[in-house]
Symmetry: C2
Subunit: 252 residues, 2 copies
Amino acid sequence: MSTTVAPQTIHAMLLFAGLSENEKNELIKGGRLRQCSRGEHLFLHGDPVKSFYIISKGTVQLFRETPDGHEKTIDVVKSGQTMCESEILDSCRNHRVNAMALNDVTVMEFPVAWLKDSARKYSAFALNLLSHIAQQAHMAEVEAEQRANMKAAQLVACFLQRMCVLYDFDPKGFELPYSKTIIASRIGMELETFSRTLAKLKEHGILVKGSHVSITDLASVEQYVCAACSIAEDCPTHKEMERKSSNKSGDA
Amino acid sequence: MSTTVAPQTIHAMLLFAGLSENEKNELIKGGRLRQCSRGEHLFLHGDPVKSFYIISKGTVQLFRETPDGHEKTIDVVKSGQTMCESEILDSCRNHRVNAMALNDVTVMEFPVAWLKDSARKYSAFALNLLSHIAQQAHMAEVEAEQRANMKAAQLVACFLQRMCVLYDFDPKGFELPYSKTIIASRIGMELETFSRTLAKLKEHGILVKGSHVSITDLASVEQYVCAACSIAEDCPTHKEMERKSSNKSGDA
DNA sequence: CGACACTTTGAAGACGATCAACGCCGGTGG
DNA sequence: CCACCGGCGTTGATCGTCTTCAAAGTGTCG
């Protein structure tokens, strides 16, 4: 299952790269497992920041309520990803977002002090953390630029490609891992716009029927989306999609 | 002058907090000064990443050309701020943006290896760097959300407030530090929209005449902008503006 | 004075948001 | 087994905001 990280797989995370097994064990001992069932909140906007999280299983929605009562999804985070590192490193007292389990979730929970202490103790960990955050910052930058420059259809197509890569789906056919409502909100558009957009995407090589997506014409998608993207040449998603299209091995 | 950081002031940067004077000197020895005159490029999109920069004097525009030939300003960075840390930490080979001096600029230039080496060597530096990047990531997140939720006039008003704080201007009256063309592009809107928006802002307590801005009614601005902002309660700019409005001491 | 960069203003158009209604489906309870 | 309901998604019509194209105004500097 692509949404599960076995406990031992945490060891394989890039965050712990370059550390000895002993050091990893030492670090991981600092956390404890926590279970959440679908719909349960891990924390709420305004709650004091108490932990750093590594998601071991399941999917978590990070969202915020705007002053006018709407609900905006900041991100959807899955197993193998982390939460709250930037809040902790930025020394935020309180959470800036809500976190809700979209399905049954298992997280590894580390006390706030753990993160900085570990960075202080193991310089390799500090450097990994730095790359990790820098990478996130980069992604955020790219998304901001895309949102500004591309239109809805391109944003959606690009997002579907990223989804393919993140969840290791077969582009030829896969199921959306969560509801269209949440996806739309994640991309920053209204559900109605998203719905209409999906319909139009068949002209560009993406066919959507219910929650089943098949990217029928990778070349067409790339030409439609990536040609309009200023980071195309060094876009990891773009590269990965090209790899997937040459390797004809899909693991459904 | 608010756009100058004397060499010794680099010592005072948060990035070097918690280090002894000897350690600071040791670190700073790793860099060398470079001058750029107005219009000169520090680096171009696609150039290999060769340095980490601390801006000591002047203002630098970071921008990118979109596929359709437009020019989009990613950020405008001034003395006391840094450049390229995330590229380096993300191990990017090539620059993702262009950097051009908007006026006469002095930067401190450190070789790429310096950043990671220093982080490895001094854990305090690594932690400072982590906060620094986390903070940037936070700002980027906030801006993204604002761009999605607020309308042009609110974005502009918010930006002017931020400018006030960053440059330590007196809200009651100050000059825009760079051209409206660049500001508009920085905020992500067309120059025409920006121009029209400025005119409309007088209804909300901001008067603009040429490049002279005066925020006449701070309360009105806050109510118009910050009330629509989801991070108002923990927005450093908002807080700082309130402080400025109580301290009736402006330093023009 | 003229050239040029920068800014303003006007009018038309594109795009997504919003409001409203309907279809679909799974679940619950009679 | 059917009727009802609520969550989710689709479709249609309208509206507001920003962009785009075009033209004219302002300022500076040789």
